[in-house]
């Protein structure tokens, strides 16, 4: 009897697996059609844009901050980014290399940076000592005097 029940379990699991593969194939087929349809729907918005425009479109304000830092610092001098999350720092470190970029969650004047960037305007409720504000476009950028 145990042998027979094992046999029937074997059969049930085998049939269940085959049926599941059928469902999987159906689902994969539908999703493939959906994916391919994106070429003429969703992705149309990306075609015709250059890479910089695509970055602005994808990253939004975060990329504008990077562009602002690049424009203001002209790629020279160390930059401290004061931000609650790491995204502007990691992006700046990537896009602005070889310029040295650092990150702090709060501004503590323990080290001299050429620039201090507050990505959220509420952070800069006071003027950092020894710095003057040089940009207020997308983030507040201060330059060391």
């Amino acid at each position: 009897m145990p042998f027979q029940s094992t046999k029937s379990l074997q059969k049930i699991s085998a049939i269940a697996l085959i049926i599941l593969i059928g469902l999987w194939t159906l689902l994969a087929g539908i999703r493939t059609i959906n994916n391919l349809s994106k070429l003429i729907t969703e992705e149309k918005a990306w075609m015709g844009l250059d890479d910089e425009e695509k970055r602005r479109k994808f990253f939004g304000k975060q990329y504008s901050i990077i562009e602002d830092i690049k424009r203001t610092t002209k790629g020279k001098g160390s930059v401290l980014i004061v931000a609650a999350d790491g995204m502007p720092y990691y992006m700046a470190r990537y896009y602005l290399y070889p310029q040295r970029i650092y990150w702090a969650r709060a501004f503590v004047p323990d080290k001299a940076y050429a620039y201090v960037v507050f990505t959220d305007k509420t952070y800069a409720l006071y003027q950092p000592k020894d710095y003057i504000r040089v940009s207020d476009d997308t983030a507040q950028i201060y330059k060391r005097i």
């Binding site: 094992t6 379990l9 074997q10 059969k11 699991s13 085998a14 049939i15 269940a16 697996l17 085959i18 599941l20 593969i21 469902l23 999987w24 194939t25 689902l27 994969a28 087929g29 999703r31 493939t32 994916n35 391919l36 070429l39 992705e43 990306w46 075609m47 890479d51 695509k54 970055r55 994808f58 990253f59 790491g86 995204m87 990691y90 992006m91 470190r93 990537y94 896009y95 290399y97 070889p98 040295r100």
Partner: protein, 448 residues
Amino acid sequence: MTEIIGIIITLLIAAIGFVVIASFRLLPKTPFLLSISYGYGLGFGLVGIHMFLLSRLGVAWHELALLIPWLVLAVYLLLARNLKKVRVKIPRVGSGISLVLIVIILSLIFYVIFEALLRPLTAWDGWASWLLKSRVFYIDGGIRDGVLRYVQSDYPLVVGLVGTFFYTLLGQINDRVVLLLSAGFYIATGGIFFFSLKNKIGIKLSLLFTFLLFATQNLIRHGGRYEAGQADLALGYFFLADTVLLSRYIKDKKISTLVLLNLFVGITGLIKNEGILFSLLIESILLWIIIAQKRFHHMIGLVPFVILFLDWQLYRLFSNMPKVSHYISASIHPERLSIIITEFVRQMINVQNWNLVWIAYMLACITWAFGSGRKNSAWIFLLLSISQLLVYVGVFMVTNTDTIGHIRGVFDRLLIHLAPIAIFFTALVVGGLKGHVPKLFNILYEKV
């Protein structure tokens, strides 16, 4: 034009690997398309290792310096080896279903390449780590002292260095076209998958499962759409290649297969740290096989892995690399097991990411446990996928970082490493069910 050069560079990487495989006859009597699929991963690893060596020797990364060793090998291959033996054999496809599947598979390949070329790098880990290194090394013209401390990474350098190789040959940094490297892994994974499977379960079923692999949304995303530019799909490719080569070695017992396997296993450990554990797992199995079967002269085949492994570990130890030791805590946290299981179940039923990959895999495991579908060395794929999964569970139980956030953040990527092996295992089990299912389903099966 940049896109065309990018495609040529990606093909060049596959050609480099192919030249090495063909020159040293590492895969005799293997179809060209399978060899070239292995060639992509081997070329990727060798190019990265070569750049790493040049940098340590102080040799500038001039285009010629990067290509000369491979050109010499290619010339040797042309002169000393009979290239007529390299046959591009397209498998015969008889039925209409197979033709439909081929068209869909080719459409998915086209789609992923299109997606890779559509947008510049968007994945967080791409600009925070992997392609950051490519950019940094390219701008610096080498691996400058202290730079790894600045990029805060103790991860291996091969992926970053191949990005630099790409930029060097392209003559510029282009973080859109470089994503073709990810699409390359998507295609090469499919190549190894299909051509290794077809002799075991037949062309029709192999095409079906290759389609199911290619249609997995997480693989499409990492191959070209939004998540390209990271190393997880590359690791998935290497896990699959390692496992398939291991099953081939168990069957053919050839030292040439063992050498190639050890090159692949060595490179696996140089893709991501997670690869090191998998490499050690494979090496343990190999040691057990060699000792159990008293094939001691095969120990020499393990040398490529030992060299690559030791070189990287010693470099990590003695260079100015940051040590990310905070990742592992001193104590084990068994209470996290429930969170891990919950997240695994959440991923399993996440149809958006995986379609039915993991549900089918679980059912295939059950079917296999009941004794059905136990053919074609399916056990190796089961053993390695489950062992690596347990390794990840173990790591989660000792990690120091915020558990729920950490697990949620990385679990879908860890499963990418295992998905190709899991689908391969499912395919083998389904392929072995002939005779266990009603005749109605015999349409799936053909003579192998």
